[in-house]
Amino acid sequence: MLRARKIRKSFGLGDRSLEILHGVNLELKSGELLALVGASGAGKSTLLHVLGLLDRPQEGEVIIDGADAWKLSVQERANARNKKIGFVFQMYHLLPELNAVENVMLPAMIAESRLVFGSKRKQHHERAAILLERFGLSNRFKHRPGQLSGGERQRVAMARGLFHDPTILLADEPTGNLDTATGERVLELLFEEQSRRGLSMILVTHDMRIAKKCQRVMLMEDGQIQADSSLPMPA
C-alpha cells in the first residue's frame, strides 16, 4: 500500500544542515492502523509530511500503489494528495471563509472543474452531509469554523479527510489540541471509520495510551525507527 525506503531529510540551519530523518524505512499494509510514537523532535511529523507528499526528502523513495510518488510530476503528485491520501491535522486547518459542508467538499472542488462540480454539486453536498451526520454534526452544516468548538472542527476536518475515500489516512496528533474527553470521542470516531472502511492509516502521537489502541506501533527516536511492534523485540 505505502512503502518508504531510506528516507533522508535534513533542514538548512544557517550554514549547516540538520538531519531529521536518517534513512527511515516503513511499510504500511492495506487496512493497517499504525501509530507513530516518539518524543517531540523525533521526526514523526516530518516523516508523515514526506509520506503525505508535502515535503520532499533529500534521499529515498515513497512508493504508493507501486510508483515512486516523488518522481511524479507536480500535477500527478497533487492529484495523488487529492485522491489517495487524506490528512487530519492537529490544528484542524479548515478554511475560515467556508462553512462545514463547503470545507468537507473542498477536495471535490479542487479536483473538478466548475462544470463537472456544478453537475455533481448535489451529489457532493449529500455525501458531505452524510459524513458530517456520521460525525454528529447534522446541525452544524452551515456553521463556519469560527462558530464550532475544537472537537467539532476536528470532526469536520476528519470528514474532509475522508471525503474522497482515500486509501491512506495520515493523522498528525489529531487530539493534540483537544481535551481528553473530546479527544477520546474524536479518536473513537476515527478508529471506527478506519475499521469500517478498511483504511490504511498512520497516526502520529506522543501519547502511548492512544498508540496502544492501534494494531501496530512504531517508535521513533532521533530520526530513526527504534522499535516496531510487528517485529520481534531485540534481545
Binding site: 473542498l106 472542488m109 479536483a111
Partner: protein, 480 residues
C-alpha cells in the same frame, strides 16, 4: 472550481478589496468620461477646421524661368473644372481666390497702418473670392438673402460652387440655431439674375465673420473699406482700396474663419487686386471618404492632361488633412497624451490591487498550505489569486464603465449642478463657442479602457499570485 469559488469568497469577505475595486471604478469611469469630453472637444475642433475646407485642394504651380519665361499650365480654372466634373468620384468643385487685405472703417488712411506692424497685423484679414450658384442657393431660406446680396454666381455651365465644394454650408446650418447667417434686415436684394456688369455700378457686397464684425463693430448694412497691395505687371506695387457693403455676418466654430475671413465675389476680388490669375486654388469635394486615393487619382489625371506642372511639384494636389497636418497632428497628440496621463489613474488602481493582494497572500498563507495539502497545484493557486484581480476588474470596470458612460451623456446637467454648488462657472460657454460640453462616447475607446483595466489588474496581481503559488505548503501550514 475552487479558484472561482474561493476567490469570490475571499473577495466578498475582505473589505480591503473594495479599495482595488474602487480604484478600478474610479480609473475606468474617469477615463471614459474625460476621454469622451476630449474626443468631443477635439472632434468639434476638427469639424471647425474641416468646415471651410474641401476634401481635395488643387493649387497648380506657376513658375518663371531664368529667361523670364512664364510656365503656367492652368491660368484659368475652367479646364481643370471640366475635367473634374466629368469624374464620377467628384461631387463638387469650385475655384477660389485668396488674398490678404487690411480692413478699416471708411475714411481711415491705410498708409498710417503700415508704420505700425502690430496695428497692421490686427487689421489684416483673409479675403476670399468665391463662386456661388446663387439662383440655386436661393431655395435655402436661411441663406437666400445673403447669397443674393453677395451677388456672386458661378458661370452657368458649371453646376458646382463654393458651397458644394466645402463643408462651409454644413458648418453654418443645423447647429441648434447657434451658428449661421445674420442677414442685414434692410439690405436690398441684389438682382442676382442680372449680370456682373450691371451690378458693378453698385457698391460690391461682402459677408464677414461674426467675430470680425464684433471686433470692428460692424453690423449688416455697414460699409467697410478694404485695402491691399497690388502688383501691376508694368509698375511698382501699390496700395489699392475699395468699399464693400456688409450684407451679412456668419458664425462657424472656427475661430480663424469667424475672426479673419471676408467672402466676396471671386471676380470682384480679382478685379480689386488685379492678379495674374482669377483663382488661387480649386476646391474639390469627392464621393466617399477615401480622400487619399481620390487625391492620387486626380493628380495623375491632371498630370496626364498637363494641367499641373507634375510630380516634381509635390504640393499641387493635397487632401484637407495634408494642408492641416501640423494642427491635426497636434490634436491627435493631445488626445494621446491625455489617454496616457489618464491611464496613470488605472496604474494607481493596479498598485492598490497589488497591495491588497500582497496582504492577502501573507494573511492566507495557511489557507494556501491547506489547499496544497488537499491537492491544489501551484498553477491552481496562482489562478485563484489572479481571479481575485479578475473580480476586482470585472466589478470595477462594469460599474466604472456604466458611471463613465452615463456621466458622459449627462455631463451638462452634472456641470450645471457642480457649478451651482461650487458657485463658479466650470464651463464658460463664451470661451468655447458652443453651448454644451461636447462628448463623444466611442465604443472602441470604452472597450479599450475596460480591456486595459483588466490587463493592469492582472499584471499587478501576477506578482502576489506568483508568490502564493511558490509558497512551500509546509511552511504555509505551519504559519499561524
Amino acid at each position: 472550481m475552487f479558484r472561482s469559488f474561493l476567490s469570490w469568497r475571499y473577495l466578498i469577505s475582505r473589505r480591503s478589496n473594495l479599495v482595488g475595486i474602487g480604484g478600478i471604478l474610479l480609473g475606468v469611469g474617469a477615463m471614459i468620461l474625460i476621454l469622451s469630453i476630449m474626443t468631443g472637444f477635439l472632434e468639434e475642433q476638427r469639424r471647425a477646421i474641416r468646415g471651410t475646407l474641401s476634401d481635395v485642394i488643387i493649387r497648380p504651380e506657376r513658375i518663371v524661368g531664368p529667361n523670364g519665361m512664364v510656365i503656367d499650365p492652368a491660368p484659368f480654372p475652367e479646364p481643370i473644372l471640366e475635367l473634374l466634373l466629368a469624374d464620377p468620384r467628384v461631387r463638387g468643385a469650385a475655384p477660389q481666390l485668396q488674398w490678404a487685405a487690411l480692413i478699416s472703417e471708411k475714411g481711415i488712411d491705410f498708409s498710417t497702418l503700415f508704420s505700425s506692424p502690430a496695428a497692421a497685423e490686427n487689421v489684416t484679414k483673409e479675403i476670399v473670392g468665391i463662386d456661388l450658384r446663387t439662383d440655386l442657393r436661393l431655395v435655402e431660406p436661411a441663406l437666400s438673402a445673403a447669397l443674393a446680396s453677395i451677388g456672386a454666381f458661378a458661370p452657368r455651365y458649371l453646376v458646382q460652387d463654393e458651397l458644394d465644394a466645402t463643408g462651409f454650408l454644413e458648418s453654418l446650418t443645423g447647429r441648434d440655431g447657434e451658428l449661421g447667417w445674420t442677414i442685414a434686415p434692410r439690405m436690398p436684394l441684389f438682382p442676382f439674375e442680372t449680370g456682373r456688369e450691371e451690378r458693378a455700378l453698385r457698391t460690391p457686397a461682402c459677408i464677414v465673420g461674426e467675430k470680425l464684425g464684433r471686433q470692428f463693430g460692424i453690423s449688416p448694412g455697414d460699409t467697410i473699406q478694404l485695402a491691399t497691395l497690388v502688383f501691376p505687371p508694368d509698375s511698382e506695387p501699390k496700395l489699392n482700396n475699395r468699399d464693400f457693403v456688409v450684407s451679412g455676418l456668419f458664425k462657424t466654430e472656427a475661430n480663424d474663419v469667424d475672426s479673419k475671413r471676408i467672402y466676396v465675389d471671386r471676380f470682384e476680388l480679382a478685379d480689386f487686386i488685379g492678379t495674374f490669375r482669377s483663382y488661387s486654388q480649386i476646391l474639390v469635394r469627392i464621393e466617399g471618404d477615401d480622400h487619399v486615393a481620390a487625391r492620387a487619382a486626380i493628380e495623375t489625371r491632371l498630370d496626364e492632361e498637363n494641367l499641373i506642372l507634375g510630380p516634381t511639384y509635390a504640393n499641387e494636389v493635397l487632401t484637407w488633412e495634408d494642408t492641416n497636418r501640423p494642427l491635426l497632428g497636434a490634436i491627435e497628440n493631445e488626445r494621446m497624451l491625455m489617454a496616457i496621463m489618464l491611464s496613470l489613474v488605472l496604474i494607481v488602481a493596479g498598485f492598490t490591487i497589488f497591495a491588497t493582494l500582497s496582504m492577502m497572500v501573507t494573511e492566507k498563507r495557511r489557507d494556501i498550505g491547506i489547499l496544497s495539502a488537499l491537492g491544489a497545484t501551484p498553477s491552481g493557486i496562482l489562478s485563484m489569486f489572479l481571479m481575485i484581480a479578475f473580480w476586482d476588474a470585472l466589478i470595477g470596470a462594469l460599474l466604472g464603465g456604466a458611471i463613465g458612460v452615463l456621466a458622459a451623456f449627462r455631463i451638462d446637467a452634472i456641470e450645471r449642478w457642480l457649478s451651482a454648488i461650487l458657485g463658479v462657472q466650470i464651463f464658460d460657454r463664451d470661451v468655447y463657442l458652443f453651448t454644451h460640453i461636447p462628448t463623444i462616447v466611442q465604443p472602441l475607446s470604452v472597450a479599450s479602457i475596460v480591456g486595459g483595466a483588466f490587463l493592469i489588474a492582472h499584471i499587478f496581481a501576477a506578482i502576489p499570485a506568483w508568490r502564493a503559488a511558490r509558497l512551500d505548503p509546509l511552511t504555509a501550514l505551519r504559519y499561524e
